[in-house]
């Protein structure tokens, strides 16, 4: 036993020997503690009976130091090996065990492996409640939603913050995916703030959740290291739409219309499988080199990435170069830390004409690809084209899909830069306080040219077409915050942060479209500048008292999209967590209970003109080709735009309750969360009552919706020994939503709701947002069947009892839900000596799809075009047998539940091979297995299946190593 005494000491980084400022020192078993000063030094009065100190520092492994007789202690902390333990949060980071919100993070070692070009694909299926639909085209964008859809018209995409810069998430013309700026190989962590208590610090932009991406940085102590990894891949299409082949088609037409009929005279005598002619085995390659280290204490990491991929649709190409440089110097005894992060991306794209996918499905298989008559040679480049008696293109006829691909060139060059610098200053005289200034600049410029040859049937009459365009996008960010951290010992620890943020988003587009000879202008040269601003004040208080953790946040946002009266939104949140036990031995190792409530907002309704100034009464001038004649003069007209003077924020209030636990020596760790989200003032585009506005549809605040769900994540290590280990992780999410109100102050039961989900035909919508139903519920006629179970054409239940079935909206009913109720992700990794096998897959259950290909092409009427040509049908017509399209029948709603194995990777690791270290060779099959009953091409199309860019299977071999 030692009486009360004063201990003095220092805390340093074990590697660099640099002092750690603000490290926490706590007397074990008490709440007595202090923090280190700028020299990493501390003094602490320890009470009688104290035996040890606990020394902790964010990002480092906590150490317990036994007290000896000495009053001087030097502690060296090692950088945390398990980065899982540190979570990046908005404007800071936090130890995972201290988190009060629903936050989940995936680090680089757990990323999916494959031919991954875009960041989001790294974590598909890895995070409960985060639903990622991988892209189907090379470098393409993907749908990311966090905890379902909470908005109707405003963005449901999460806010994405890369190294502290919140991105503008709307894609620009010419660019496939804004996330392409960051090379997947440069990403260190991918963190999702799911509930409001975590995301409310981003206030107005956080309704769809927040994804924080941090990139890898160098360390001052590191020696020079060079890493390479690369791969070669081949993608191929696995399924095609089931249409008639040429002989069957010929027979079908003859049976239907008879020999000698007009229709029979339209038949050709070729045998063409159009779908096989538009796809290819697509080769791709990907190389990345990065080097990192420290030069005279200046940590750096630089990387170069190069990706070159073809698409499975012929002529589709994607070529990308990325550069990234991170510098993290420290000055003035480490009180001033500077982080400079710069990223650059250059892509060259060629976009295949997607229209060819649908055209190939319906194109008459008895027509040839090429025609060798002199007219076709001279006028149509030798491609078969439907012609009228004068040899001109037949009006309204489809264009040869092969010609569509080969005679059109749609190419773009895109460059994007994100540069941000943050300065973090810890006041020498007040080490509890630090100030952080973050300046960011995000620049996008994409330019492209689309040419349609004068030999392309649809462009022949205009002698081709050429469109030049560019899009630029500049976002500026200024953020400043102060952070005060103080441990009051028995009274707990306070971590308070308050700041200010200013962002300007500037967009400009240019386009000019004319024919190839230049003598006819389709769309005159025009630029289209526009902008918006967001200004915010925010604060957060983290208070820790023993095992109780409390977080309060408050953010006030102003958006220039709304009028002065509606502009400001206040977004508060509160959360608490209690560590029931932690670090205990035995079967139950840790248990933490969390509960939080908060409000987040949404104002992102897009970056088009109407979306940026939706409250202003504006007039727009007509183009020169939409003037009106008064006398001998053509007058440029001025048109008032529809507007909503009262448009305002959409607000989502989220309640979250969850537990985090560790079992069996932490061989099983997991989280279980329940959430309830209420969104009010939903932004949606609705039909306005005719005559009440200058347009028939407008974006306005229309109602309320609830989302609720349960998420479970589990990570287990059933086997772990020297030679063999097995890890398995999984997550399951159940979610549901319901619209609870749609028109303010009206409970009118006649009000059906807001139609959505456009399908083929004119003005046809198959879905509806209605009160009491999930959003975008299919709204259809109930098909009647005969005794044999075959559908009877045009026969529907007379649901409104007016004596006629299938007439008007009264006979339509709310049917299936396009959104899945259940989502699953599973991943596993087996290692045996130097072999590793990893797999990752996803499943969705309960999502229904409207098969628009069937409804459009599985009826005999579709055989005949509007002019002298025929169209192929879906073979399902043989079963359905309808003469006319019956677009609104529930016959076409199909279960889209599926399980998909996304990646299987086998790798072998050589610790050293020919002087190269950490050599890994690997082979991956991407999308090897899909289990589904859905008869269309891809159960992941979501909602309505029209013609889609097919999801391909990829085979990949790769290599990585370092020097």
């Amino acid at each position: 036993m030692v009486a009360q005494r004063t201990i003095s000491g220092t805390v340093k980084d074990a590697d660099t020997q640099e002092p750690l400022i603000g490290a926490n020192i706590l007397v074990v078993g008490t709440s007595t503690g202090t923090t280190t000063d700028i020299n990493g030094a501390f003094q602490l009065d320890v009470p009688e009976g104290a035996t040890a100190l606990e020394v902790s520092y964010t990002g480092y492994t906590t150490k317990e130091v036994a007290l000896t007789a000495s009053n001087l202690i030097a502690v060296a902390l090692s950088a945390g090996e398990d980065l899982d333990e540190i979570l990046v949060i908005g404007y800071g980071e936090i130890k995972k065990e201290d988190a009060t919100g629903a936050i989940q993070s995936v680090t680089s070692k757990d990323f999916n492996q494959g031919a991954i070009t875009s960041a989001q694909d790294l974590v598909a299926g890895k995070i409960a409640g985060v639903n990622i639909t991988p892209s189907t085209d090379p470098g393409g964008g993907a749908g990311i939603t966090v905890r379902g859809l909470s908005s109707l018209r405003a963005s449901n995409a999460p806010l994405i913050v890369i190294d502290g810069v919140p991105l503008e998430t709307n894609n620009n013309g010419g660019s496939r995916n804004f996330l392409n700026i960051v090379n997947p190989n440069d990403i260190e962590t991918f963190t999702v703030l799911k509930d409001a208590s975590a995301s409310a610090i981003y206030g107005s932009r956080a309704s769809g959740g927040v994804i924080l991406i941090t990139t890898k940085k160098g360390k001052g102590s590191d020696k020079f290291r060079l890493n390479y990894n690369g791969n070669v891949s081949m993608n191929q299409v696995t399924r095609r739409i089931d249409v008639f082949d040429a002989d069957e088609f010929r027979q079908l037409v003859l049976n239907k219309y008879g020999e000698g009929s007009v229709e029979a005279s339209y038949l050709g005598d070729a045998n063409t499988d159009w779908q096989s002619l538009i796809y290819q085995n697509a080769i791709g390659t990907d190389h990345n080199v990065n080097f990192s280290g420290g030069v005279k204490g200046l940590p750096y990491r630089a990387s170069v990435g190069y990706t070159n991929k073809e698409g499975v649709l012929k002529t589709e190409k994607f070529e990308r170069t990325t550069l990234a440089l991170n510098l993290n110097p420290k000055f003035f005894d480490n009180t001033l830390q500077v982080n400079i992060s710069s990223k650059a991306m250059f892509t060259r794209n060629r976009f295949a004409d997607r229209g060819a996918v649908g055209t190939a499905v319906g194109f008459d298989p008895t027509q040839p690809v090429f025609a060798d008559d002199s007219l076709s040679q001279a006028k149509y480049g030798g491609y078969f084209a439907y012609q009228n008696p004068q040899g001109n293109p037949l009006s309204l006829a489809p264009t040869n899909p092969v010609a569509m691909l080969n005679l059109r060139n749609d190419a773009s060059n895109v460059q994007k830069y994100i540069i941000n610098g943050s300065v973090d200053y810890r006041f020498p005289f007040l080490p509890e306080l630090r100030a952080n200034l973050n300046l960011g600049y995000d620049y996008f410029y994409g330019e492209g040219e689309v040419t349609a040859s004068e030999q392309l049937a649809y462009a022949v009459e205009d002698t081709g077409s050429i469109t030049n365009y560019w899009n630029s996008n500049e976002n500026r960010l200024l953020e400043f915050y102060l952070n005060y951290v103080k441990d009051y010992g028995n009274l707990g620890k306070v971590d308070f942060m308050a700041g200010y943020s200013w962002q300007n988003f500037f967009f400009n587009n240019y386009s000019f479209s004319r024919n190839l000879t230049g003598n006819e202008v389709f769309s005159p040269e025009e630029t289209f500048p526009r902008e918006y601003y967001l200004v915010s004040l925010y604060s957060r208080l983290n208070y820790t008292w023993n095992d109780l953790l409390v977080t309060l946040t408050l953010r006030r946002d102003g958006s220039s999209r709304f009028s002065e009266q509606a502009r400001w939104g206040l977004f508060p949140s509160a959360a608490a967590a209690y560590k029931v036990f932690d670090g205990r031995k035995g079967n139950f190792n840790s248990l933490k209970v969390r509960v939080g409530y908060g409000v987040t907002g949404q104002q992102d309704i897009g970056n088009g003109f109407s979306d940026l100034y939706p409250y202003l009464p504006l007039y727009d001038a007509s183009q020169p080709n939409a003037q009106y004649q008064f006398g001998n003069q053509f007058v440029t007209t001025l048109r008032p735009r529809g507007y909503d003077a009262n448009i305002q924020w959409e607000e989502t209030a989220t309640l979250n309750a969850g537990i985090d636990f560790g079992l069996l020596d932490n061989r099983i760790i997991g989280s279980l969360d329940y959430y309830l989200k209420n969104t009010n003032n939903l932004l949606n585009e609705i039909d306005v009552a005719a005559g009440s506005n200058f347009t028939n549809r407008i974006v306005t605040n229309v109602g309320s919706m609830t989302n609720s769900g349960v998420e479970l994540s589990l990570q287990a290590t059933p086997i772990s020994n020297d030679r063999f280990s097995w890890e398995i992780g999984g997550n399951a999410t159940y979610e549901q939503n319901e619209i609870t109100q749609l028109i303010a102050n009206t409970l009118d039961t006649n009000y059906l709701g807001v139609f959505t989900g456009g399908i083929s035909g004119i003005n046809n919508n198959i879905q509806i947002h209605s009160v009491g139903h999930p959003l975008a519920t299919f709204f259809v006629y109930e098909q009647l069947y005969d005794d044999n179970g075959n559908p009877i054409e045009g026969a529907y239940s007379d649901l409104d009892g007016d004596g006629q079935g299938g007439v008007g909206n009264g006979d339509r009913y709310h049917s299936r839900n396009p959104n899945a109720r259940w989502f699953f992700g599973i991943n596993t990794r087996l290692t045996y000596d130097n072999w590793e096998l990893s797999m990752s897959g996803r499943a969705r259950v309960g999502n229904y799809i409207y098969n628009n290909i069937w409804s459009d092409r599985a009826n005999y009427n579709a055989l005949r075009g509007n002019t002298a040509f025929l169209s192929n049908l879906h073979r399902e017509v043989l079963n359905i047998g309808f003469e006319q399209p019956q677009l609104l029948s529930d016959l076409y709603l199909q279960n889209g539940s599926f399980f998909r194995m996304d990646y299987i990777t086998l790798s072998y690791f050589f610790p050293e091979l020919g002087g190269v270290k950490n050599v890994k060779v690997f082979a991956t099959v991407q999308n090897p297995i899909t289990i589904t009953n859905y008869p269309g091409l891809d159960p992941e199309v979501g909602g309505i299946d029209g013609s889609v860019y097919p999801r391909s299977r990829a085979f990949l071999i790769g290599l990585s190593g370092s020097l």
Binding site: V262, N388, P389, Q390, S395, F427, F429, L430, F480, L482, W502, E526, T527, P529, R530, Y533, V535, S560, L616, L618, Y619, D620, A621, S622, N625, A626, Q627, Y628, Q629, F630, G631, F634, L638, R639, P640, D644, N646, I686, A689, A690, G691, S692, N693, F694, T695, T700, A744, D748, N750, L752, G761, I762, N763, G794, G808, N809, N861, R864, N866, T867
Partner: protein, 533 residues
């Protein structure tokens, strides 16, 4: 510590200052000069003419970019959203004058005169009418003397704007009339109500009728004298024509004969002397028809400056097909859509002896009988409208014609005069009526008729011969009680999908009024659907 708090205070001060100044950034107006706030628009005296031009252009084009782009109506294929195209489809497809080969949803139903509230073309027509009405209301609100004075608009411009304003009221009355004629029980938007979230309430046909009547009478003397306005703009005669048409159909609209007033206003048009018959019938429908002295009120189009996929582009290109040579009508397109049923053809002498120049049929490779409406070569084709001028030269573009659409023309006034007289209107006489009818027939090189031939049935047929495809037919058939009845049928009238009545049959009386579109019934719960739908 003091130093610390001082620094902190300074820092906070800087933050607050920057923050406050940046808050002003939230007050933005568009930086693109193509867009202006309403206030800025009406402060500029030159704008008044431009906004008025949009009110007219709403009848012709579909958006602020030709032929498509920046559309006025959202959610409908832009080509299908044209006012004139929709009006034509409503007035012609359900009659003997036209049948369309296309299978686009809504068209086969209009062909058969068997439509419901989900018909997207009917919704398009309705949306167009209710695009025009709020726009004209806004213009009328923004052009009061009080506002013009407040904005210090110069006196000479104010004088012009007063006329513009009267024309806006005419255009509003025109669209209300289309609404009354097609949909009958329609929402009425009070002029004082601006833009906002409210449900316009349905007016009775009597109320709508009375409003149109009072408006036209109120502007009668504010408009420019007949034939004196700039080409393309409405004058007194346009308002009189509209009034005369309103009165002529009053029996249908409000169950009350107003035939005397109809004749009164027809006479004003004719007696103004501002209009005369185009010597050559064919010239009324050519690329240079803006020169015609017969046209009272046109909807103008131009191949370069007024482009649309609706309007005349639609009317000319859609009626080319089969073996027709599109260039013969000054265009490239042969959309293979619209032609006529035997019901119209039989109004003419189909033998070689026919001299009536109005029988502008194209028959090579076309059959008269229509077994399958989807086959363009079944049913005779029409060459009435053309993008060639009188000299045979094509217009300025080979897709979008220069040809204007004659919404009101003198021949119609002549026929209305005769009809009103035959219906017993006072103030006219049969001899004058006969003279007018024979003037039309002589112009077309058709044989003259005698007083004994001049019956109401003859008038209905003569209207078909003279005015077919000019957006009158449905209204005419209803006024003559022949639209739904079984004693007057034409091929495919009331036919079923299974083709059970290819020769035509009676249809339900409800079809005399179009259904209110289901999307507006959903958006405006105060509306009551028309009977039978």
């Amino acid at each position: 510590m003091n130093k610390a708090y001082c620094t902190l205070a300074v820092l906070l001060g800087i933050v607050l200052l920057t923050a406050t100044s940046c808050f002003n950034d939230l007050d933005i107006v568009p930086i693109d000069e193509d867009f202006n706030t309403s206030e800025a628009v009406y402060r500029d005296p030159a704008s008044y003419r431009q906004v008025l031009a949009k009110l007219y252009a709403g009848l012709a084009v579909t958006g602020q970019q030709g032929p498509a782009g920046q559309g006025d109506i959202v959610g409908l294929d832009e080509g299908f959203s044209s006012y004139l195209r929709n009006l034509w489809n409503m007035q012609e497809l359900p009659t003997e004058e036209a049948i369309c080969a296309w299978n686009d949803q809504g068209i086969p139903e209009l062909n058969r005169a068997f439509f419901d509230s989900n018909n997207p073309l009917i919704a398009g027509m309705y949306a167009r009418i209710y695009f025009q009405i709020p726009l004209t209301n806004e213009y009328i609100r923004e052009t009061t003397d009080e506002k013009l004075n407040f904005r210090e608009i110069p006196a000479d411009i104010q004088a012009d704007v007063r006329i513009f304003r009267a024309e806006a009221r005419f255009l509003r009355a025109l669209s209300y009339w289309h609404g009354l004629d097609l949909f009958r029980n329609i929402p009425f938007i009070e002029e004082a109500r601006g833009v906002g979230a409210y449900f316009p309430e349905q007016a009775t046909p009597q109320e709508t009728f009375a409003f149109i009547e009072s408006e036209l009478k109120a502007i009668e003397n504010l408009l420019v004298a007949p034939g004196q306005n700039e080409y393309g703009r409405a004058d007194q005669a346009a308002a009189w024509m509209l009034l005369a048409k309103l009165y002529l159909n009053a029996e249908v609209y409000i169950g009350e004969s107003r035939i005397n007033e109809s004749l009164e206003y027809i006479k004003k048009v004719i007696d103004s002397g501002a209009f005369s018959l185009e010597p050559n019938y064919e010239h009324l429908f050519l690329a240079d028809n803006h020169n015609s002295a017969e046209i009272i009120f046109p909807v103008t189009f131009h191949g370069r400056n007024t482009q649309t996929w609706g309007g005349m582009t639609f009317l000319i290109n859609s009626s080319n097909g089969g073996s027709m040579v599109p260039a013969d009508r000054g265009v490239n397109g042969a959309w293979g859509g619209n032609r006529v049923t035997a019901g119209l053809v039989m109004k003419f002498d189909t033998s070689a002896a026919n001299t009536d120049e109005r029988a502008m049929f194209y028959t090579a490779g076309q059959t008269l009988a229509i077994t399958n409406p989807r086959t363009f070569t079944e049913g005779w084709a029409i060459t009435k409208f053309s993008n060639l001028d009188q000299a045979g030269n094509p217009g300025s573009d080979n897709t979008h014609p220069d040809t204007d659409f004659p919404m009101f023309r003198l021949a119609d006034a002549y026929l209305m005069y005769a009809e009103a007289v035959l219906r017993g209107a006072t103030g006219g006489d049969q001899a004058t009526a006969l003279g007018y009818i024979n003037a039309l027939r002589q112009r077309a090189n058709a044989t003259s008729i005698t007083a004994g031939d001049l019956t109401l049935d003859f008038i209905l047929d003569e209207r078909a011969r003279e005015l077919f495809w000019e957006c009158h037919r449905r209204t005419d058939l209803i006024r003559f009680g022949k639209f739904t009845s079984g004693d007057y049928v034409w091929p495919h009238k009331g036919n079923t999908v299974a083709n059970e009545f290819p020769e035509g049959r009676a249809i339900d009386e409800k079809f005399r009024i179009l259904p209110l579109p289901s999307n507006d019934l959903a958006a405006n719960p105060t509306l009551v659907q028309n009977p039978g739908y």
